[in-house]
């Protein structure tokens, strides 16, 4: 909270500096703007930037490294017995100290050492804040003084300010790259730790998935096994079911909308399909678990087939419905991009409309449709909420759509929701699964992109 106030103070200071800079430079030329190199506002911005930018950078860096540094100092001040604790217990102790220091309820009754440490923690934090405030404000004032000294009517303020803006724009566009780098690094880092405990071969080709880590050596069923094949198979099964729904329906509706529907029908149906795309996936999950799952089960009972209440079929069907608009809107675009002259040529040869669509329009649009389907597959593999709510948890290796299967995303969620210990294979397995998920979807996206680019037919 205090840091927010400090940042607000610095921002106010910048506004103030802007006004002053503007006024000073106008005073220097006696109000005659023609004497200035840049517009007066740029001089204001120049002063404000020199004043605020270094100070804000210092505060940002300070805030992002403060917790680790304070924690290190805190640990070094603890009794040696406490320092020798294993990492997990030490973390618990630290969070207890923090809770006591901030006045929250802690998990155990505090002993004297913890109370002393909590006091030290509070002390360290207030010292750190004071130091940050002093250094930040000093930087702001220093920048202000420097800017004042440099402020001359012939100062080229606009190029300087525009240079800063240019760099800011560049940094903004690099953030997307940094996000990807962050994803790859964090997944890789935790996955490597996982593969130190479980061999990659066992993970990728093992047939048995029961992610537990033993608390005691002699525990029954304590040896967890991390063979992910049943999970990949389950993901594949649900994806196949979803595509069996989404591709024909999405494609047929796209064809109908592009080739047959009157503008009036289009204007009604297109938004309806877009609503299907806008519904949150958690709603689909609720629908699958509450309506479709029991309905399929009841239907199966009448036919004498045993359908699990969390069957792959229910999750796959609903996921297929969710993906329909995805397939249809992308295919709609490519079908519309096929030149009218091709259709006219087919009609001139006496083809009916459906023959034109099947023999001329679809082959010409095939690259785009294949791309759309690949993107839809990648979407289905990465979809989480529907399967978390409607598919099972048990890793069955089966191709029977009436049984319960589990998927990569379900396992990630089950492994990571709740208590996590970052030294157990159970938690780290989620990151290994995440890495597989990321790589597979990335490959699908790139293949889709290549297919669309390479097999595009160039007309006229």
């Amino acid at each position: 909270m205090n840091s927010l106030i400090l940042i607000a103070v610095l921002l106010l200071f910048m506004v103030f500096a802007y006004q002053l800079g503007r006024r000073w430079v106008l005073q220097k030329v006696g109000g005659d703007r023609r004497e200035l190199h840049s517009l007066p506002g740029y001089y204001g911005a120049y002063v404000a930037l020199l004043c605020g930018l270094p100070a804000l950078l210092i505060v940002a860096l300070w805030l992002s490294f403060e917790p680790q540094i304070i924690e290190t100092i805190l640990i070094s001040g603890l009794p040696t017995a406490a320092q020798a604790l294993p990492a997990g217990e030490l973390n618990l102790l630290i969070s207890d100290i923090r809770n006591i220091a901030t006045g929250n309820i802690s998990s155990r009754t505090p002993d004297a050492a913890v109370l002393i440490a909590a006091d030290r923690y509070n002390n360290l934090r207030s010292i750190s804040f004071a130091a940050m405030a002093v250094i930040g404000l000093a930087a702001a004032i220093g920048g202000f003084v420097v800017a004042r000294g440099r402020l001359q009517p012939n100062l080229r303020a606009r190029p300087v300010v525009e240079g800063v803006v240019h760099w800011t724009l560049l940094i903004a566009s690099v953030i997307a790259v940094l996000t990807t780098v962050g994803i790859v690094l964090s997944l890789l880092f935790e996955s490597v730790r996982f593969f130190e405990q479980v061999s990659p071969f066992e993970f990728l080709f093992g047939l048995d998935w029961s992610p537990q880590t033993a608390l005691r050596e002699d525990q029954v069923g304590g040896s967890g096994s991390f063979g992910a094949v049943p999970i990949f198979a389950g993901t594949l099964l649900i994806t196949v079911i979803a595509m069996a729904v989404a591709v024909p329906i999405g494609l047929l509706s796209a064809i109908y909308m592009a080739e047959y529907a009157s503008p009036a029908v289009r204007s009604v149906v297109k938004p309806l399909l877009e609503i299907l795309a806008g519904i949150p996936t958690v709603v689909y999950g609720f629908f699958a678990a509450l309506t479709i799952g029991p309905a399929l089960r009841g239907f199966g009972e009448q036919l004498g087939i045993g359908v699990a209440s969390e069957s792959a079929l229910a999750a796959g069907l609903v996921m297929g419905v969710m993906i329909i608009p995805f397939v249809s809107s992308l295919s709609d675009d490519v079908i519309n991009a096929v030149p009218q002259s091709l259709r006219d040529g087919a009609y001139a040869l006496g083809a009916t409309q459906s023959e034109t669509v099947r023999k001329v329009v679809l082959p010409a649009a095939l690259h785009g449709i294949v791309g759309a389907v690949l993107l839809a597959v990648s979407r289905a593999i990465g979809e989480t909420m529907i399967v978390v709510m409607a598919a099972g948890l048990a890793a069955n290796l089966t191709a029977n759509p009436f049984e319960a299967v589990t998927t990569v995303t379900v396992q990630i969620v089950t492994l990571l929701v709740g208590d996590q210990e970052f030294d157990s294979a159970k938690t780290l397995a989620a990151f290994a699964l995440g890495l597989v998920l990321f790589l597979v979807t990335l490959a699908l996206n790139i293949i889709a992109l290549v297919v669309v680019r390479r097999y595009r037919e160039e007309y006229d």
């Binding site: 329906i249 949150p280 709603v283």
Partner: protein, 434 residues
């Protein structure tokens, strides 16, 4: 390959018979029918989905209440008569409420029967009475008639969701409770009123005390963080890529990367948030600031892509005219091109925000899935969001949570419709075609 061999035959002697023509026309009609069927299927599922949610959800907006005559005995509430708010708030109102209920059924005796009787009313009923007494201490010593919430099971019974004709062991309400309820109903002591708790309370284990306000505030705080981070960064990145970026390999890399990022599964962003923001930077779990940052990274590609499309749609002549008048490239963009592209950028942003509002999976990873009763007040308080609340309630074992879940979904959908409507209006009103 079969078609290839068939072609020479066709070329030699095309089949122009009426039968062949009829067959082709039938194929045409069939194909058309497939298209209609596909659309009807999709629209039908949409109708089924919305219909099932509305039909289970609308009843949650009403709550059954029972009238009790309670005697506010000063000996229990305020023994020393000082009207000290702390004493008033600490008194045992549960006893008063239960006495009031027992007086209506004097012939109920035995521990088990009394327990069944007390289950007619909500466990939070004493808190409602407490709030009323603390607000107006002058009613102490009088006997007042108050409407208190029934328990969730009685509420379901009153709404006809629990069938009366099944065996007693198979339903959640016992025969004696039904009899008592019917007596109360006959005495006009039962009514249904608008369920304000749903819109003012946080989460609760008791369905009748649970509300979505906590989750709505959490969603609001999270979306503010998302908007504050993703909108400026997205617009700046779009401006850079569209107007200033040199055409080289680096720019290509950034472009491909942004398009790929748009297709990364949302749960992977959650893993990123968990590994980087929680483990590395040590930010608090379950906090809107972390959730908002993760969603901002997820929304960023959407805003950049929409922003670039909007900037690209502004004709180059406008920029060239500004440059010709002596504006610097940056002035030409910020003073002329960007304002004209703003409606398109805002439309894209609203759509991105709507997606962020409905997103659940990444937030599960960073712990926004906890059971949180308090209404969050700052960006670092533990909070949950509407879709996660839906997920939590959908998992709850009590039957009464089914209608609450549907009601929460209806509220969520209402917000989404509002946002999308705003986007459509913005597009219709300000979109210019050159």
């Amino acid at each position: 390959m079969t078609e290839l061999t068939a072609i020479p035959v066709l070329q030699r002697k095309p089949d122009l018979s009426k039968a062949q023509l009829r067959r082709r026309y039938r194929a045409e009609a069939r194909f058309r029918l497939y298209g209609v069927a596909a659309i009807l299927f999709a629209v039908g599922i949409l109708a089924l989905l919305l219909g099932s949610i509305i039909s289970t959800g609308f009843s949650a907006f009403m709550q059954t209440e029972i009238a009790l005559d309670v005697q506010l005995d000063p000996a229990i509430i305020d023994p020393d008569g000082a009207r000290d708010p702390a004493v008033l708030a600490g008194a045992s109102y549960r006893k008063i409420v239960r006495t009031g209920l027992a007086e209506l059924f004097p012939d109920v005796s035995g521990r088990k029967a009394k327990r069944d009787l007390n289950r007619l009313i909500s466990r939070g009923a004493d808190l409602e009475l407490r709030d009323r007494v603390v607000a107006d201490p002058s009613i102490i010593g009088t006997t007042v008639t108050i409407w208190i919430k029934s328990s969730a099971d009685i509420d379901s019974l009153n709404k006809g969701q629990i069938p009366r004709d099944v065996v007693e062991a198979d339903r959640r309400v016992k025969d004696n409770q039904i009899a008592w309820f019917d007596t109360l109903d006959a005495d006009d002591r039962v009514r249904r009123s608008f369920n304000t708790t749903l819109f003012t309370a946080g989460d609760s284990r008791e369905p009748e005390q649970a509300g979505i306000w906590g989750a709505a505030v959490g969603s609001f705080l999270t979306l503010i963080v998302t908007l504050a981070l993703s909108f400026p960064v997205g617009v700046m990145a779009a401006v850079y890529l569209e107007a200033f970026a040199p055409k080289n390999r680096w720019t290509d890399l950034i472009e491909v990367n942004i398009n790929n990022l748009a297709a990364v599964p949302s749960i992977v962003f959650g893993l990123l948030g968990l590994a980087v923001f929680l483990n590395f930077f040590g930010l608090p779990r379950s906090a809107p600031i972390v959730g908002g940052t993760v969603l901002a990274l997820m929304t960023l590609p959407t805003i950049i892509i929409a922003g670039r499309a909007a900037l690209n749609a502004v004709p180059p002549s406008i920029r060239e005219a500004a440059l010709a008048m002596g504006a610097s490239p940056l002035q030409a963009i910020t003073h002329h091109v960007l304002p004209l592209a703003m409606p398109g950028i805002l439309t894209g942003t609203i759509i991105g925000m709507a997606r962020a509002l409905g997103e659940t999976a990444p937030l599960l990873m960073i712990g926004m899935v906890a059971f949180i009763v308090d209404i969050p007040r700052t960006f670092t308080d533990p909070a949950t969001v509407l879709p996660v609340q839906v997920f939590l309630w959908a998992d709850a074992p009590e039957r009464a949570f089914v209608e609450k879940t549907s009601a929460a979904i209806l509220v969520l959908l209402a917000f989404l419709i509002l946002m999308n409507l705003a986007a459509v209006i913005l597009r219709k009103k300000f979109e210019r075609r050159w």
